[in-house]
Structures are given as C-alpha cells and as structure tokens.
Symmetry: C2
Amino acid sequence: MGRVVVDVMPKPEILDPQGKAVAGALPRLGFAQFTSVRQGKRFELEVDGEVTPEVLAAALAAAETVLSNPVIEDVVRVAVAPEVVGSTEPTA
Amino acid sequence: MGRVVVDVMPKPEILDPQGKAVAGALPRLGFAQFTSVRQGKRFELEVDGEVTPEVLAAALAAAETVLSNPVIEDVVRVAVAPEVVGSTEPTA
C-alpha cells in the first residue's frame, strides 16, 4: 500500500488568521523564538499497490484542482510518503 | 531566516470527517486511484537566524503542546524547511 503526501499552504500574500492566532499564542506560552506562523493543510492519499509516476501525476492534478483553492493556496509539496509506519512517529 | 515545518495528523483510530469528504469527492472528480484520504495540518514556524537544535527542540515542544491536541492528533514531523523559496514551488 502506497501513500502520497500533499502539502497545501496559504499564498504568502494572503492573510492567514489561523497562523496569526497561533503566532500570537506561542510567546504567551513560552515559545518566544518564533516570529511568524502560517498554517496550511496536509493530505495523505492512500493507493493500493505502489506509488507509480502515474499515481504521483494524478495526485498532483488532484492537489491543484480538488485539494487546494488556487486563488488563495499553493501546493507546496506532492511526494511519496517514505514509509507508512514512519508517518506516525515524530522525527525531530 | 530559518523555518521549521510541523506536520500534525489525526490519530489513525480517530474518525476524520474532512478526509472522508475528500475521499468521497475524488472518485466523482476523476481520481479513482485513491482509496483513502486523511487530512491534517501543516505549520510553518519562522525564526530569526538559523534553526539551531535548541530551536528544533522548542518547535517539537510547541508542536506537542500548542499545535496539536494529543488526545486526537499525532505530531508526524518536525523538520527544518529545506529552503524558504523552495516552499512555494510544487515538487512532484
């Protein structure tokens, strides 16, 4: 079973109220080192079998037409997930 | 200027209605190859200067206490963004 990861972020020129809220909360909670936060979306798409180049191309098309709003969002990454088990482990 | 990326996904055992909605829409829109979709969040945290190991440790702490709800979500990745310009370019 393969997995494709799609990352979508608000365009830089678009106001991001969720990110602004997080950026405002972090210093109050002891994390003063972060100057700016932007919040986007991460999708994990599963396919039966291997992630072929065709699947990756379909994922890119889906990312640009279904998973993101191109007026306000950029697709920043479409990539094969390295391992299914790996995606539940934090890596610092 | 450094940037840390934090990815948060709903735990596997938690129902993900957003992902379910996307998974239902994809086949109707011509993307029948994807069997399952889960939707999570991606945060980009900016810092002045380099991303030091201390900054990364702070980002991990923030990810686990502020950016995610540990009851229903897993922090799946805390990593240095490869390049600031790179994050606006899709990579397939």
